[in-house]
């Protein structure tokens, strides 16, 4: 599903965020991306979401070489990716329902179908009753769940999460992680960047660890997936 081949990313100004990174994540896997802050976790996710492009090397996502994707076609790549952000990126000028519906509107679904799928997604994150609320009135954990509902409502093949539990206490964090596990169980490939090693230990999913932009540990490689 995800295939990094000797990928480096150097930002203008000379800082090398990722250096010569190679790893492989098979379809349907749930992996954690760990490392201290500044290790390159966010950069790696940005490369996958095509917010940034690699300086060297190539990334194959679901059989597509991202280097061959023109800027104009980036949206079509992103439509198969659900992204969960640490700070939710919700829009506070519209109710929860409309926030979650955004990916479906972009994909051109009919109104009836949108209602159905949005309610299903909200039901999965346990927020069905909050569909008419403004996200700003919700707690941090609830807002994060709205963000997750928005990321999975169009059933993307890949779910990326950047520190999804960064602002939550441990109990809420586990709850959120269990949600990701559930999506993984129905076939979605999930990659979660997190520095909460304790939590990751508890969940037991394979880890890819970065240090100063280089790969230091890859559970998937050790298990012979490579």
């Amino acid at each position: 599903m995800i295939n990094f081949d000797n990928v480096s990313k150097r930002y203008p100004g000379g800082h090398e965020a990722l250096s010569d990174l190679s790893f492989r994540v098979p379809k349907g896997k749930m992996t954690f991306l760990t490392g201290h802050s500044g290790a390159g976790k966010s950069t790696l996710l940005k490369l996958l979401a095509m917010i940034e492009r690699p300086s060297r090397g190539q990334i194959i996502l679901d059989g597509v070489n991202l280097n061959h994707i023109s800027n104009r076609r980036i949206p079509y790549i992103r439509r198969n990716i659900g992204i969960v952000f640490q700070n939710h990126h919700l829009l506070y000028d519209r109710p929860v329902f409309d926030n979650v519906a955004m990916p479906l509107v972009i994909l051109g679904f009919r109104h009836k179908e949108i209602s159905k799928r949005v309610r299903a997604a909200l039901d999965q994150v346990g927020l069905l009753k909050k569909e008419k609320s403004n996200p700003i009135t919700l707690s941090g954990g609830e807002q994060q769940r709205v963000g997750i509902a928005r990321a999975i409502v169009h059933k993307p093949g890949l779910l990326l999460a950047d520190e999804p539990t960064g602002n939550l206490d441990s109990e809420l964090s586990l709850e959120i992680m269990r949600l990701f596990e559930r999506f993984n169980q129905v076939g979605t490939t999930v990659m979660i960047a997190s520095h909460d090693l304790e939590l990751i230990e508890e969940l037991g999913a394979p880890r890819i660890s970065l240090k100063d932009g280089a790969l230091v540990h890859d559970d998937l490689a050790q298990r012979g997936a490579r």
């Binding site: 079509y76 439509r79 051109g108 993307p156």
Partner: protein, 314 residues
Amino acid sequence: MAPTSPQNSLFTAYLVHHLRVFIASLGHLSRAPVATLMTSAVIAIALALPSGMFVVIENLGGLSHSWDGSTQISLYLKKSVSTEQAQSLADRLRLHHDIDAIKLIDKAEGLKQFTASSGFGDALKYLDENPLPSVLIVQPHIDTAQPEKIGKLLRELQAEKQVDVAQLDMEWVKRLYTLLELAQRAVWIIASLLALAVLLIIGNTIRLDIENRRAEIEVSKLIGASNAFIRRPFLYTGLWYGLLGGILAWLLTSASLGLLDGPVERLSGLYGSSFSLSGLSFSHVLNLIALSCMLGLLGSWLAVGRHLSEIEPS
């Protein structure tokens, strides 16, 4: 792997989406009715000004057109010339190859017409004798496009012993025409400048709108919205501004012309004319609104092209 096809027909999906955005952008505008109305009003005033001028000029043009065919030379005969002498002069001149027709208005008839149309009839009663000369109205057999030939005829007629003054009635029509042309050009210049102003107003309004919806644009881009998708609501917003501005401009122009209509009718009544101001025709209104919509679309298109690409998620 890719999300399942959302709809049976991509084309219907496209249309449905456009309709949805079209309505949604109106909804967006209606949530700030005062701001929307103010922007539309500025656009309307900028458009009503030149379109009102156009209507006035077109009316004046029509007025002069009705006289265009009747290029004629008036021969005011000397007062000593009697009706019989005038008649024989008319008969003689009728044989001239450059003259199509001649009509004699003798002193008595001239007095009658003058009394009827001028309102000074009573004053004339106090005069001992008829002060008016006999007049020959000469219809030349010459195209108006040949001024030198008309000039030659005019000099010939002026040379006749019995003629006091020979006057080419076309002169003032020509002057009016030149003036109208000048005015028309001035209106074109003003209209172009104001159209540019409308473009800038809409562009700036859309730019602010884009700035206000920055977060929404960023999130939309992150979840896979194409540039066209993000552009669309802003383009439709511009279109709505244009449409509202155009309709308001039409109302403003019609109201202004309505205010002028009464006085103009009274004025033309004084000149014995049945001329009345013709307002905006249906096709004028359509043109005005179409132009306004185009300016709206173009203005927003320029703003969107400049500012949307600056907003990228990071």
